[in-house]
Structure formats: structure tokens, C-alpha cells
Chain length 244, copies 2
């Protein structure tokens, strides 16, 4: 904003804000083919008992992203994740707490979108009973406008998956091609692409290297373990790239 405005516009007209950060935290349970989102049960009015996205208010000297990381660290413990800003919801009427007697303080929500590894996402024990993973396609009614935020995050997740390699942020260091395929299926739907084409397309990108190691999962031919080659991907960064 230009400072010029502050001197022209009367101070008392300007809204005072508290800024909150709400996280849409996704994980993929590849074993059961489920896309999950982390929700917590509210312990206060309004919307007492309703699930909502984990959020927090931004503290002094804290960046928005730091706040997002902090609330994430309070709920789950992960060492690898993908995190990016989603959208800012800031209408004056989005939160019923912004009543006329709220002294003119408005609440703004900057939402963040996170993707974490389900297998290593350990719920922090102190919040365990109120924090849980929900199947995205089947969440109950959420508090505030959090369903809107969730929808927005879900759309972003699907888009991101198609043109950027965020899947590798939540896959083990070594994985089979089928592991990736299952992840994509879970998020994008069963028939987003043929497995055969998905394979060859992904391999042709040259960003995976075959470790040569084979793994047997149940019956069937052993699959090769691959590793994401960050160096090979680096020059492709910021280029239009399609992963499907």
C-alpha cells in the first residue's frame, strides 16, 4: 500500500486487523486410497464442537509462513512437507465474532495449503482426541467458512499435482512407480490417466533414477525402486511441465 493514503485518509476509518492463519493440511493414505485432511474439534463458541481447520493468530515479528509452520508443528510431527499460501479470506462478515461490539477489530484469514506424508505424520499426543484425519470427500459440516477454504485447497492440490513435483515431497526417498501412480489416483481419481502412459511419460522426463533395487509387495513381479533426482529437475523448474 502507498503511504500517501495514510496521510489522506482519516485514521479512524481504517480497519484494525488481527491476522489468522488457517491450514489445509492434506495427506494421502495410499494403502487405503484415501485423501485426508486434518481437522480439529472446536472447544469454544461459536461453532462449539464443530470440526475446523487448524489455525492460529499471527504473533509479533512472525511471518505468515512461520505462523503456518507453527500451528502445523503443534498438531503433527513431520520432517518433510510441502507448504504454500492459498488464499486470503477477509470479508468483514466472514466471522460472526466480528460483531458491532467487537471494537472494530476484524479478523483476516490467510490460508495455507500443506501436503504431508501420512505414514510419518504423527499426531501430537496432547491434542490427540480432538485432532483427526478426515476423508476429504466426506467431511462433516465445518465451522466458519472453512468448507470454502477446504474446497479451494482441494482444487489447488489437484492442480499442483498435475504440473509440479509435489508428490515427491510426500513419498519415501525410494518408491516404486506404482506408489506414485496410486498417489495420483487417490487425489485425481481412478481414471486420470492410463498407468502405462503415466509410467513412460514420467520416465521420459528424466527426473527419476532407477536404484536397481527390487522390492516384492505380496505376489507379483518385483518392482524397481526409484529416487527423485532433484538435480535433473532443477533446470525444469519454473517451466511449464505436465506430470499426468
Amino acid at each position: 500500500m502507498a503511504k500517501g493514503s495514510t496521510s489522506i485518509v482519516k485514521k479512524q476509518l481504517l480497519a484494525d486487523f488481527k491476522v489468522g492463519v488457517d491450514n489445509v493440511i492434506f495427506s494421502v493414505d495410499t494403502d487405503r486410497n484415501r485423501l485426508l485432511v486434518l481437522l480439529i474439534k472446536r472447544k469454544d463458541e461459536p461453532f462449539l464442537g464443530y470440526p475446523c481447520l487448524p489455525g492460529t493468530l499471527v504473533r509479533e515479528g512472525e511471518s505468515l509462513k512461520s505462523a503456518a509452520r507453527r500451528i502445523l508443528a503443534e498438531k503433527i510431527r513431520v520432517d518433510r512437507l510441502y507448504l504454500e499460501q492459498l488464499y486470503t479470506f477477509g470479508g468483514p462478515d466472514r466471522d460472526p465474532r466480528e460483531s458491532p461490539n467487537s471494537f472494530g477489530v476484524r479478523y483476516l484469514s490467510v490460508s495455507y495449503f500443506a501436503l504431508v506424508k501420512f505414514e510419518e505424520a504423527e499426531l501430537i499426543s496432547q491434542n490427540k482426541k480432538d485432532t483427526a484425519w478426515y476423508i476429504v470427500q466426506n467431511v462433516p459440516e465445518l465451522a466458519f467458512d472453512h468448507q470454502t477454504i477446504l474446497d479451494y485447497g482441494y482444487r489447488r492440490l489437484r492442480n499442483k499435482l498435475e504440473y509440479s513435483p509435489i508428490a515427491f515431497d510426500v513419498l519415501p526417498n525410494e518408491f516404486t512407480l506404482n506408489d506414485i501412480y496410486q498417489l495420483y489416483c487417490t487425489v485425481l481419481g481412478e481414471n486420470f490417466s492410463d498407468y502405462s502412459n503415466f509410467r513412460s511419460k514420467l520416465l521420459k522426463l528424466g527426473i527419476l533414477c532407477d536404484t536397481g533395487v527390487k522390492v516384492c509387495r505380496g505376489a507379483g513381479r518385483p518392482a524397481s525402486l526409484y529416487r527423485f533426482d532433484a538435480e535433473a529437475f532443477a533446470p525444469l523448474k519454473d517451466k511449464p511441465l505436465v506430470f499426468i
Copy 2:
């Protein structure tokens, strides 16, 4: 944000925010094949005299989008435009005015991205001498972190153009296929696509209707005037769609 947080975290830790809105306003001068962005010269310190994005602080009871529309209306007069939120920049160090003696008030910038019709974008006279269109690829050094915001907006513009019909928001009601092509060329670069394929692809979408009227522009065969068919496009909304 969950209200639970407010009761746990000590009030004095929370940052107080003033929220600003900065607009990245693009227009396309199709005659001269130029992509333009609207900048204003700062009349205050810091960055006195530097160009910056038009912005304002959000007032009480005003939504973010309303603030974006207000600042836009103060600079230019248009009746058709495309407007969407871009990104929120909120690090505690982004604005040098946020010094330790600023009483802990932080400035957050929610940026908006707008596309307007160059031909009808009339600069409001009172700001005329400090408000001007700049060629995007050739802007001078900007105040604050506005170059970052501009870059972000430019990228968004190119992406949006490829998969959503925002071009029709800034084209005349009736236009030739070459008009659209020129607009795409100006934004995406000369060789983004072959004209022949661009034509047939666009027509095959079935969202344009031929008015039958022909226009002659200088020499050459007369071109058909087309009109965007909003009804035909409606069912395609929210579907993955490619315009290139």
C-alpha cells in the same frame, strides 16, 4: 483461525495489522503490441519519486475486494474488467516503515490482479501526471517489494490466459479472430501458437458466434466479427479448458 487460540495465547503477543491492498493492473495495447501495467509515482518517503503499484489501506466495514475496486476506480475509469486476488505478502520486514518504533503495527499487503481494456481505460484527471502505463517488460525500479508482486501478477496473467476466457473481458463485444490472436501474442509472446491452429481450436470450443458482419482493416480480405457466447461457455466453467 480458531478462537481457542485467542484464549491461550497472551494478547500482547499478537501482532496488530493494517491491511493494504495493492493492485497489479494490466492492459493490452493491441495496436502497438504492448503489455502495460499501471504505476503511480510516490509522493512520500520512503521511496519518494519511485513508481509503485496503486494501493490503499482497507477501511472499516470494507471487504478486500471492495478496497481493490475503490483504488482502481480512483485511478482509472473502466466499465469492464477482470479482477482476482493474487497473493498476500506479509513478512514482518517487507516494509521499512515497520521499524521497531512503529508501535508493533504491521502492514500486510493483499495484492489483486486486474485486467482492463486499454482503449477505454481513461486515467482519472486529478492523478494524471503521476499515473501512467508502463511496458511490463521494461519497468523501472519499483518501491517496496512491488517488483515481486508485479512478477507474480505477470505469471498469473499468462497462466490465466491459457485456461480461462479472461481475454473476452477486455476485448470489444465484437472482435475478429486476429484481435484475440494479437492479444495472446502480446502477452504470451509471438510464437506461443500457430495462428491457424489457434483459430480452429478456438472455434471448435463453440464459445464464439459469428455475427456474419465483415470488417476491412486497411488492405486485405475482410475479417468476420465474432462475439463471445457466455451461454455456451457456462457449462464449460470450472472444467479444465485450454485456450492456446
